[in-house]
Amino acid sequence: MIEITDLRKSFGNLEVLKGITTTISEGEKVVVVGPSGSGKSTFLRCLNCMEDPTSGSIIFDGVDITDMKVDINIHRRRMGMVFQQFNLFNNKTVLGNIMLAPLHVKLTDFRRKKLKNAFIRISNLFARDKKPLYEINANRQQIKEEVRENALRLLKRIGLEDKADAYPSTLSGGQKQRIAIIRALAMNPKVILFDEPTSALDPEMVGEVLDLIRQLAEEGMTMVIVTHEMGFAREVATRVLFMDDGQILEENAPAEFFSNPQNPRAKEFLSKVL
């Protein structure tokens, strides 16, 4: 689903990613581990072009999204992202956070169709071959209601429906991160990218966030996870990428990787963290 070929990224003179080639297929849970400064996060952020790669290509669903001519926003809607610092929209309520993007996308689509229909109607007055109108099967209110219901359903799933009208500043870290996850989920993404989702959490809140990610994994969501939680990585991953110095040094099934790492630097890393 995502084919990454010779991905390179430099910040000024500093080359952070030195040619990464890998493929992430549907349903896979890829966990990226490695020491700090190894380029894991940069790699993840390149996948949805939050950082524009310096060179190389990322083919997502058959489209090279590193191409500047591609409308990246359309593709980002199919790639959820969860941040270390949660990044909930502070000026929106919890429900507003979840509804914002789906509502915006649907309403924009609705307006565009209506505008196009108006043009088609006018041109149909003069044309011999009448063009069909775009189908609009919901009005503004219905669209809003539908998005709202979906958001509430997601909130109920994580048991936070009573927080729907609260502002993010009143929530705990674990609650924020779980809401950030379902905010990504509300767009029905094909893949979710997790950028150290538990690193900014208090220890007692790590569990609830990992549980939610685990649930999603069991449901078959494709994921790329950058994490320092080795136990979690071993449990959830279908494949582990070990990165150091901007390169993938080892790529293996979790059981293999954790019990019998091949690369010497991976060995050294694991001996430190396990």
Partner: protein
């Protein structure tokens, strides 16, 4: 100072019986309209300029726009507002062949002028918003401009509200120069009263009082607005 009560009586006579109050009310109205509408225009212009200034600059269009904005801000911060008023009213509008009431000219010039100042305030406000907010917006597939408008700018406005209140206060006080182009403001009203009874002490004192009261009321409004906007920061 001995005949202060007499002076007040004279002032009162003109103020009530010779239409003085009507002039003062018109002046007050013009002052407020120029300041408030000017600030509204300024906020729109300032937000657009600030948004352009903080845009990533690796494409050509933002760089050109940025140059235009820098020129604009330089121009309006580099000249006194009196000069801008005079140039607009006596040079630019006649050259364009447009005839416009002085108050409208003042609104425009004050709007353009405060746009330059508000842009700097707004830029600071936008930069004070956590960059993660923009990232999160972009990550769910919203465009730069939509994220800016729906996420970043509302938070920026909250941060800069006290400074914007300051700007409004400054504008209210700066309107005292609009009589240069013949717009009727408080100064015109009170000097009318003053010239009518050859006594300027009380009228100008009254003018000062009105300005102080106006500024105090604005400051109060700003504080109330700040409090209501802060509801997303606290445990309600």
């Amino acid at each position: 100072m001995g005949n202060f009560d007499k002076k007040i009586a004279k002032f009162w006579e003109i103020f009530i019986n010779h239409n003085g109050y009507a002039k003062v009310l018109t002046g007050l109205q013009n002052t407020l309209i120029i300041a408030v509408v000017g600030l509204a225009i300024g906020i729109v212009i300032g937000t657009v300029i600030a948004a352009i200034e903080v845009m990533p600059k690796y494409k050509r269009l933002p760089r050109i726009l940025n140059g235009v904005c820098a020129f604009y801000v330089g121009l309006f911060r580099g000249t006194p507002i009196v000069v801008q008023l005079l140039v607009a009213y006596y040079v630019i509008l006649p050259l364009l062949g447009i005839n416009m009431p002085p108050v409208n000219v003042c609104i425009m010039v004050f709007g353009l002028n405060s746009g330059a100042y508000v842009s700097e305030i707004m830029r600071g406000g936008i930069l004070s918003v956590d960059p993660g907010q923009m990232e999160a917006g972009r990550a769910v597939g919203l465009s730069y401009s939509v994220t800016m408008l729906k996420i970043v700018v509302p938070q920026a406005v909250k941060n800069i509200l006290p400074t914007l209140g300051n700007e409004l206060i400054a504008l209210v006080k700066e309107t005292s120069v609009v009589s240069f182009v013949g717009a009727a403001d408080l100064y015109v009203a009170f000097s009318y009263i003053g010239t009518n009874n050859y006594e300027f002490m009380v009228p100008y004192l009254a003018m000062a009082l009105i300005y102080i009261v106006m500024v105090m009321i604005i400051a109060m409004f700003v504080r109330i607005m700040e409090r209501s906007l802060r509801k997303s920061d606290r445990n309600n």
